[in-house]
Symmetry: D2
Subunit: 341 residues, 4 copies
């Protein structure tokens, strides 16, 4: 573990120079006391471009992991590389920020959790939604008791369009790929764990998704150990864009988290009063959240504070995704204890 006291900057290696890697790189470049040293990507050209942009160097995995000066890794590479890079980071006593999901298998995800615990390094999972200003303000208001005891949660989570079927084929399925975020929101907002889970779904947009063994819309219901209820509805294809809302009914009131609009223009025509559709997709919608989570990570690392989204949270969300997959496939309610086995 690098000593971060005394103003010496934390040196960082970013794995993955794709869309999300570029966002994290830009955000961490803005952190005081943080220096982007390496960019690692199998696509050397992408790595070089990103490195150049921030005055960093291109490295390969061994080079980056082998450099004792590197205090933290930021993992934004493809899902199948996450676990291995977490394990290596832990072995090298480097703090880890890793994009969701930890892994597509519970076994490997749990191995990661064990490894970082043993190594005593910080490991934060990129559930950026918990850092969205609207979502985190809502959570703070629940915690302040504004709506009494939370009782029901309704999550609407809709993508503007399905990814390529080839991506879907290797995604682990809609529950691990897409609802993983919603499962994390569920645990965070209701502050409770699932007792039973029911999931169903359909293919309504593209038969190729069915051929790939997946579905494109789902309806999930969770009943918690304390009897609270959660419903999640999702689709891969909302014609009007990216729709990310939830509402929490409490014993004393209701809190809703709405979408963010690009502008506050309202237009009155002869037939309707209209405003903007929501921000187009996650890069726009969660722009502030991505910046805030990186700040949070480095504050946790430098100040020794706990992170808001731990690898244990990543494992728990994956357990729910596994349970949902099983429920959908078998057409039955799944007990979480059974799923967690």
């Amino acid at each position: 573990m690098t000593d971060t006291a005394g103003g010496k900057p934390i040196e960082v290696a970013v794995f993955g120079a794709g869309r999300i890697g570029r966002i994290h790189a830009a955000n961490l470049a803005r952190q005081p006391g943080v220096r982007l040293k390496y960019v690692v990507d199998v696509n050397r050209e992408a790595a070089a471009a990103l490195a150049a942009q921030h005055g960093a160097q291109v490295a390969d995995i061994d080079g980056a992991m082998g450099d004792a000066a590197i205090g933290a890794t930021v993992i934004c590479s493809s899902t199948d590389t996450h676990a291995e890079l977490i394990l290596q980071s832990a072995a090298q006593k480097k703090h880890v920020f890793c994009e969701k999901p930890v892994d597509l298998t519970l076994e490997r995800a749990r191995a990661c959790a064990d490894a970082v615990a043993r190594a005593g390094v910080v490991c934060m999972i990129g559930f950026q939604r918990r850092f969205d200003p609207t979502f985190s303000a809502l959570k703070a208001r629940i915690d302040a008791g504004e709506i009494g005891t939370p009782e029901m949660l309704v999550v609407t989570s809709r993508d503007p369009g399905a990814p390529p079927v080839d991506y879907i084929r290797h995604s682990g399925g809609i529950f691990k790929d897409m609802l993983i975020h919603d499962f994390d929101i569920f645990r965070w907002i209701l502050d409770d764990e699932a007792d039973t889970l029911h999931a169903t779904g359909s293919v309504l947009t593209d038969p190729a998704i069915e051929a790939a063994g997946d579905i494109d819309c789902t309806a999930v219901t969770i009943r918690t150990k304390r009897g609270r209820l959660c419903q999640i509805n999702t689709t891969r294809r909302a014609a009007y864009g990216y729709d990310q809302r939830f509402e929490v009914l409490g014993s004393e009131g209701l809190l809703q988290a709405g979408n963010v609009r690009p502008t506050e223009v309202v237009a009155y025509s002869k037939t309707e009063v209209s405003s903007d559709v929501p921000e187009a997709f996650f890069l726009e919608r969660y722009r502030a959240a991505y910046a805030l989570e990186i700040t949070h990570f480095f504050e946790a690392v430098t100040q020794g504070k706990p992170v808001r989204t731990t690898v244990a949270d990543g494992v728990k969300a994956l357990e729910l995704a596994e349970a949902a997959t099983r429920s959908w496939r078998e057409g039955r309610t799944v007990k979480l204890d059974e799923a967690a086995r």
Copy 2:
């Protein structure tokens, strides 16, 4: 004055079987203890149709005014007949509900005020906006002190389309015909009287309106005796319909009165999120207000309570309309004491 005690119904004569007459007739027919006896209109056919609908009879002015059993008159005939019918009602000791404006001249309006005062009859002017559920709830909240001292009022008052130019020619001008309502709102909401008034305007929709000596959009500013400010913006032609909003800034907050929509449907298309345009015109927008003002009138009559919109209010609104007309014509700020002379 008819004795209304003992459950004997008040018998009523309605003058004017046009659009607004039909609304008042239907509303008063629903009042317990009220009976529509006569409908009077120069258009005998219209009178007959309305009378038939409510089991009433057709009468002429003398017949209706001469019937001692008639306890109240409801005057919805053309503006040039209002004053005469009010005077006759007063002379016959009949209570009066009269549509706005009292008259197009201050002199005659004041004569009406004097006459009803001397006769001791109730005389209510149809400023129905004061009975709109949204507007009256807002007023009640001001009165309850929710926003501290009211300081500024901004009134948006827009018609969906100009009436025929022939109507405009005999309307007394936009200030007496259209803004008379807004001047009443101003006095009611700010609970203050005008000290100075400035009005300007233009013809932007139809040159024929200019040829008729009128304008089709105006901007009025009033400064009250206590230094409070009011701005009114109006147009004869809002492409999106009937727009009736105002907002009151107080020392402790702001209250806005918004439009009413026909339905609460919200639609998300690929390009926008839309809801209904406001209710189409005054008959729809103020449907509830028309019913409530008639109830209020008959309650005042039967229970001896004061009316919310007196003939004095009608005179005051007309003074403001006169002042606005003068300000616009002469291109200068008008002092109300001067205008009232």
Copy 3:
């Protein structure tokens, strides 16, 4: 069956002089061509009061059913009397408007459907929500193709407070008593039938509800024969009032039906921008719907048009309520064909 041609009014008997009976009586009293002749209630005093208000007479069941002049019955008595009164109406060739639910058992509800079909009388069930201006405008826009093919429906249906536990004990349970409306909305909006249904729920407000064998909040998921998804969330106790919303995702967009507010006042204080909570409960929220459904019923009767909410719809909604009850009790997904057996 009474001949309604030639302007002879349809004479009507209302069964039940309670809250909803009074509403229907007032609405039908306003219908041209309709005359309220009898009010029937075991509570003679309530019957007498309501009869007096509309110039009708008090009768008992036999008297009303035995009067051949009665062309239609309006049944608003307690649920356990519905089936018997429908059967008698059918036997007497009287048209029937009956409050939901038809009955608490499928067997008797189906017997009613058979009886009215054989008798050839109109039988309309009081699913008034289908007549709510917002809901019916939304449905018309779906039917016009505005959002393409409907794919998902999310229904939020929350009461402001639980009825007395004694009422709950005889209500047939939350699914038959409360969600019966939501099940009807589901069928109407998605224009599809359930294939599988999953229901879960909890008691979160009052342990006495659990003791009565019922729950106070539920989460239901339906998958239709065409693969469409529906989620319904309900509670007996929403602190902020009566919450009646739904949204329909289609292949081309989204339509939301929102709550109705008493006024359009918006207030800005030092800490928040606020508007009214929704209309307090069903009598306020569905005031327009109650009037429109009665008009619809008598138009159907006099003009021989089909009714929008048939007794078959009542049976179907009850089948869903039965399936939901079974799903909740047995903790498993229920196949509708099985439930319908």
Copy 4:
């Protein structure tokens, strides 16, 4: 004028290390191809702190103006220094970005306009509102013809609280200090020039403001050369925060620009449905606008494009502020040709 081709960065001197100076410094530090070289402030400590933050040096006016390597100046010092710094920048052939107002006197403001024109340097005035995403999207939609011909503009512009009276005493008065922005919005949105202007106002919050010869709330009406109307309402003290809205009525519709909220949380309590008050003040509300205007300035400098807010715009806004001051003081409508003399 520095040659900015070939990737050599433009070196910049910032005058003023106060609140707005710090914002501009941070934003220009993020521009590619731009280097902050000097910070100048009579408060050497503030200058040093800001310089240190961005790796710049502290300089005095002569040092910064005398350095031929400085290609552009950014003037955020007190208003009474603006004109002199613009003149010096022009003399040294440096491009200028200057905060509003250009000067408190028309004579000196015009001298600045002349000087930069003769020098051929870019001179942009900091009317940042034109760069607000909501306002500029609205303007683009007007320009695209969405609402036909613009006819009326209503501007609501309210500060959350009055500045210290000592500031007010040297501010040039509310019209030059505060409404200068609104006058610029008026010209930009209606794309027209004032023909006549009427202003009135009051002191309603603090008698000390009256003693200082100023007012704290105003109502301004402008009629343009083409007969369009504009109303502006402002106050120094809106209890609920910073309120920046306007709406434009056109021949075909209406466009409204609303406030921006910190979050999209909506809360339902027992008594109201509430959302956040608007962003607290201009630093929060116009955060994006400040960044965008600086980018715009340097793009104009490096690419030789015209700036959106010229020194001529600054002069025009000042003419309106002069006219408004005269109208308010003299209690009469002012003709702009007269005011411009």
